[in-house]
Amino acid sequence: MSVDQGVFRPASVDEAVSVLARLPDARLISGGATLVAMINARLIEPAALVSLAGVDELHGITENPDGGWRIGAMTRHRDVAAERRFTGTLALVQQAASLIANATVRNMGTIGGAIAHADPGLDYPPALVAADAQIEIASGKGRRRLPASEFFVDWYATALQSAELVTAVHLRAASDGVGLYHKLARVSGDYATVSVALTMSSGVAGIATRAAMGACGPTPILLEEANALLSGSPGESELNRAGELLAAAADPVDDVRGSAEYRRLLIPRMLARAFTEARAAIGART
């Protein structure tokens, strides 16, 4: 493995893990879209950088035999945004990627870097939670997988332990249905003020819905109770009740993007808009 000016360049995941185990204050660098900006602002001063650019298995999107997908951690937002094979309920992952920041950031930033940073205003976390994605994590002991809903644990905090890294995001095979990601931002390219990610499919028992709200708490908010209300044959009162539950579970910040109160107000409205659009799209198909 080459080392140049404090930048380690491992060729495999095992090599990367061994550097992290040896240098706990080293930071992994993938696309650098956020990390380099933070270093420039002197917010962090890593002892060393471990570049994942040369680790082949982290690159690219592959289809599993069961129809599911493996998105390598180093896959850039641009490539997920351009991925037309994410159809049906999985379309929300492609939509979320296409709404991240701007073209420059999408050309640099990676899915693994984004979720490991776990900024609450990011687009991927709610989309991956709604899609019931699994996060693949490597350590010296091997690999483990966690549901996205358990990966995000607090403000800027994930389930990653020291000397662990995200190696991939796994998506289950798409269901025939709709996946939507809506983002409300002050201007195009900003972090979300509030976002909603939703999947909906229809079956004999009516519709099945999974909704996650982004940017209104430390982690994406998904409530089984709200999903149950939004499934079957929900009417307006169920939709309103689900919105109330999600707003009550929110813990939004007050910042330049909006007050906490404003964000709580947006949650039921954004949910209703996404739900109505998804339902209309399903109805149009059947």
């Binding site: 930071r27 933070m38 602002a41 002197r42 917010l43 962090i44 940073h117 776990a118 900024d119 609450p120 403000w155 800027y156 905090a157 430390p218 813990d251 910040v253 007050d254 910042d255």
Partner: protein
Amino acid sequence: MRIEGSFDIALPRAAVYGHLTDPGLIAACIPGCDQIERISPTDYRARVTIGMGGIKASFNLVVEVTSEQPPERVLSQTRGEEGSRASMLAADNEVALEEIDAANTRVSYVSDVSVTGRLGKFALGVMKKKVESLGREFAERLRERIQIQPAASSAPEAVPQ
């Protein structure tokens, strides 16, 4: 930013007041506080380290007690900086004790904090959440320590250096 909170302690107000003006005890209850020393009858120097999302900041603080009104209220001002002066912190603090009954006290605190410099650039909304959670942790630690100990009077001489 304004940080507010309150918590209840199962001790009489005068006893709680004695604990809250014991810098050694307070330092032990503040998450990330590894040093405190008394530098004058009203001034204390402390070091507090906080971290979030890979960002670590270690502040050298001077806390000046500006008004003591036992057993009801303590006012103080905090001024501080990171070692490299990369961020500055200033805060006006008020701690008020309210008697719930003879054996229980409600502690309320309000702090008006401003942070400038490198940390001022970083998600202040989230930082406020972090500080609020530190406030809850402080309350828990304090409760654990003083509710099991006999009420002691203030003992600033016993401050660890």
